[in-house]
Subunit: 224 residues, 2 copies
C-alpha cells in the first residue's frame, strides 16, 4: 500500500515533467511558426495544446484521489498541493505558446514580426524554451541551484522585453500600429511564459527548502 | 471538533469572498485612476494589492492545514482544493487591476486612454467590477444561475475588446504607436480579468454540480 502510494506520487511528478517538456517544445515550435509564417506548424502547435490540457486534468484528478485515499500529511501533502499549483502554471504556459502560434496563423501568409525584431523574438523564444526545459529539470531533480539559474534567464527575458518596447516607441518605427500591437502582445506572451517557468521552479524550491521565494515579479519592463 | 472544522471551511469561503470583493473594487478604482489620470488613486490601488497577496497566502496556508488536520474526503476535499484554485484566480485578478493602475501612473500627468476610447474602457472597467462582484456572490451563495449570468457579461467583454482592436486598426487612428500599445495591453488586462471572474464561477459550479464547465475560453477577439 505504502509503496503504491509513493509510486503514485512519483508518477504525478513524471506527469508534471512531461507537461513541462510539452509546453517547452510548444513555445519553441510556436516561435518558428511565427518567424517563418509557417501555417502548418502553427496549426499543429494550436491543436497540440489539447494534450497539455488533458494532462492537467488528469494530474489534478490523480492529486485529488491521492488526497482522498492516502490522506497525506507533512511533506507528502505539500508535494501534492504543489503539484496542483505547478500543473496550473504549466497549463497556462501552454496557452501562451498557443497564443504565439495563433498570431502566426492570423497574420499568415504575412509575417507578424518585422525583420528588425526577428533576432530579439528568436532569442525570447529560445530563452523561453530553455527556461521551461530547466523548470522540467528542477521538477525532476528538485535541484535548488538549477532553480536559481532560472532567475538569471528571467532577467535576460525582461531585458529583451524592454528592448522590444524601446524599439516600438522609437520615432523611427515605420511598421504601423497593427504590427506594433502584435509585437507588444507577443512580447508579453514570452515574458509571462518565462514568469510561469520561474514560478514552477520557485514552488519546487519552496517544497524542498520550506522557504518561500519572493512573490513572482510579474512586472514587465513598462512597469506593468 | 466537527463543528470547528465546518467553521474553518466556512471561514475559508469568507476569505475568498473578501478577496473577490477587494479585487472587484480594485479594478473599479484602477479604471477611474486610468481615465482621470489620478496618480494618488493609482498609487493606492498599486499598494493595496499587497493585501490581496497576503490574503491568498493566508487562505492557502489554512487550506493546507485543513487538509493535514482534518483529512477531508468527498465534497469537503473538493471544496478545499477548489478554494486553492479560486484564490489563485483572484490573486492574479488583483495583479491585473494593479497593471491597469501602473499604466495610469506611468503615463501621468497624461491620460493613457484617448478621448474616443474612454467610453469603451469605462464600460470594460464597470463590467469587470460587476463580474467580480458576481463571482463573489457565486462563492457566497453557490448559486449556479448567477454563474451563468457571468458568461453573458463575458461575451460583452469580448465584444468591447474586439471593438478596441477594430478602433486601433482603423486607418483613421491618429494617436500614435505608444497609445495604441497602451490601449491594446489594457484591453487585454480587462479581458483576462473577466476570464478569471468566469473561471471562479465555473469552479464553484463544478463543485456544486460535479459538472466541469468547458475550458475557460482564453481566446481574445484576435484569436489570441
Amino acid at each position: 500500500m505504502r509503496e503504491a502510494y509513493q509510486a503514485e506520487l512519483a508518477s504525478i511528478n513524471d506527469g508534471l515533467v512531461e507537461m513541462a517538456n510539452l509546453v517547452g517544445s510548444a513555445i519553441g515550435l510556436a516561435t518558428t511558426a511565427l518567424l517563418d509564417a509557417d501555417l502548418q506548424l502553427a496549426e499543429s502547435v494550436i491543436s497540440a495544446d489539447e494534450q497539455v490540457d488533458d494532462l492537467q486534468r488528469d494530474l489534478e484528478n490523480r492529486a485529488i484521489t491521492v488526497l482522498a485515499r492516502q490522506q497525506p500529511v507533512a511533506t507528502d501533502l505539500r508535494t501534492v498541493v504543489t503539484s496542483l499549483r505547478i500543473s496550473a502554471d504549466l497549463e497556462r504556459s501552454g496557452d501562451l505558446a498557443q497564443h504565439v502560434a495563433k498570431l502566426a496563423r492570423m497574420r499568415y501568409p504575412e509575417r507578424a514580426v518585422p525583420h528588425d525584431l526577428r533576432r530579439t523574438i528568436l532569442e525570447m523564444g529560445r530563452l523561453a524554451q530553455r527556461m521551461m526545459a530547466q523548470a522540467a529539470e528542477v521538477i525532476l531533480t528538485q535541484d535548488v541551484k538549477a532553480a536559481l539559474q532560472l532567475e538569471q534567464d528571467d532577467d535576460r527575458m525582461d531585458e529583451l522585453h524592454r528592448a522590444i518596447f524601446q524599439h516600438l516607441m522609437d520615432d523611427r518605427w515605420h511598421h504601423g500600429v497593427e504590427t506594433a500591437v502584435d509585437v507588444a502582445l507577443v512580447g508579453r506572451y514570452y515574458e509571462r511564459f518565462a514568469d510561469h517557468a520561474v514560478s514552477v521552479a520557485r514552488r519546487v524550491v519552496y517544497l524542498v527548502t520550506g522557504e518561500r521565494a519572493d512573490d513572482l515579479p510579474t512586472d514587465g519592463p513598462r512597469g506593468m
